[in-house]
Amino acid sequence: MSTQSDTIVDIQGLNKWFGALHVLKNVDLTVGSGTRVVVCGPSGSGKSTLIRCINGLETYQQGTLRLAGTMLGLNARETAAARRQTGMVFQSFNLFPHLTVLSNCTLALRRVAGRSRAEAEDIAMAHLEKVRIPEKAKSYPGQLSGGQQQRVAIARALCLNPRIMLFDEPTSALDPEMIKEVLDVMVALARDGMTMVCVTHEMGFAREVADQVVFMDGGCILDSASSRDFFGSAGHPRSRLFLEKILKH
């Protein structure tokens, strides 16, 4: 849909340890503007760690990680500025339970982007409409279903107008019926040309929107292929086995 004109994420030889545990091993990954990347792999393979490195929630020990041209981790102020280019959506939504849906969305706009209350609310409402939930603006997260909460989380992340959206298993804490409503919103985002890195095991979604599928195991990227190649017969035997298991049942 959009061209891969410029690179938003550029990871080279990334290595990360938790104490003695080597969780990311020589990871290379580039994400161009407008690209959709799906990351999958067994539990504990380092998917979350990778995506959290991209927006600076985790530090790393070796390699380089450039976000929109800025090296992350060198300078606290630059890292913070670069992080504002990203929007993150977590598995467990992580909405602020003591704030209304609207306040969840306006908090960063007012505190970080320095918008006035009225401006912030206008922007937030626009995004809540985009995720089709404007009528819940005055509700608290606890009063929403899981699917609704996750859509609010997406709206909240969109408010700061990020250049790239990061999703960490956004549907895996949801009831089966609600998964679809969240995936629909994500598909719509992808169609609008949003750059995305998404950890998910929803292979239907991956097949539909992913430009590139990355398979991780034991901290390594074992496979990195176009969606067509990945779901075709090519690739690493470990990723074939994994695909079989999760597609079979």
Partner: protein
């Protein structure tokens, strides 16, 4: 030495006269202890030398009795040229002493907040200060309303210790009546009942507050 109800009642107004001092000291100490405790906890969370030092200070405070602190602040500091009024020392002593405990309460309250909350705040690029004010503190408050209330009651019950600093608080008044008349049981029971009523009132207030805090956004 039976219980003389008429005498007990006659002591009520005098003892109630000191209720203002007691409540004032308790209130200011609660605020002082909460503020200091929160500060301690924040420094401890940052870690490093400052964090370790404050961690030790908290444990030191928790390992020593409040009375010893009051003696120390009141009678020892002047030797180093720091002479504070008895009310000031009393409030300072109680604040400092309970700040050690409240730091622990705040710690538990913050630890109980799912890690995702502070990560979400960081992911939204909120500064550490904004995250603490707008995300962490309000949720911590919901987690700790009950233990916080317990310590407020404890602070109230600790005000009698200030008698050693010549602060005219309630129990001191009761002892004054007792030593003037040599009838101890009645004034002490009266003071005891007033303390109990105040303590229960605080507990009740905290429970209501807790319910209201929890009601916000409850499922």
């Amino acid at each position: 030495m039976g219980f003389d109800l008429a005498f007990a009642l006659s002591s009520v107004p005098i003892i109630l006269g000191a209720v203002g001092t007691t409540l004032f000291v308790a209130l200011v100490s609660c605020i002082g202890a909460a503020a200091t405790g929160f500060l301690f906890e924040m420094v401890r969370r940052v870690g490093g030398i400052a964090g370790l030092t404050i961690g030790f200070v908290i444990d030191f405070i928790r390992s020593t009795p409040v009375l010893a602190w009051l003696y120390f602040l009141y009678f020892v500091l002047p030797f180093y040229g720091i002479r504070l009024g008895s009310m000031t020392v009393g409030v300072m002593g109680l604040s400092l002493y309970y700040s050690g405990y409240l730091a622990e309460v705040f710690k538990a309250g913050i630890d109980a907040i799912p890690r995702g909350q502070s990560e979400a705040a960081r992911a939204l690029s909120l500064s550490r200060r904004d995250a603490v004010i707008h995300v962490i503190a309000p949720q911590m408050l919901r987690n700790i309303a009950a233990p916080l209330g317990n310590y407020f009651v404890s602070i109230l019950k600790a005000t009698p210790y200030l008698a050693v600093l010549a602060v005219p608080e309630m129990l001191g008044q009761a002892f004054d009546i007792a030593s003037e008349t040599y009838r101890y049981t009645e004034p002490l029971v009266v003071a005891g009942i007033i303390f109990l009523v105040l303590a229960l009132a605080i507990s009740h207030g905290v429970k209501r507050l807790e319910r209201r805090l929890l009601a916000v956004g409850a499922r």
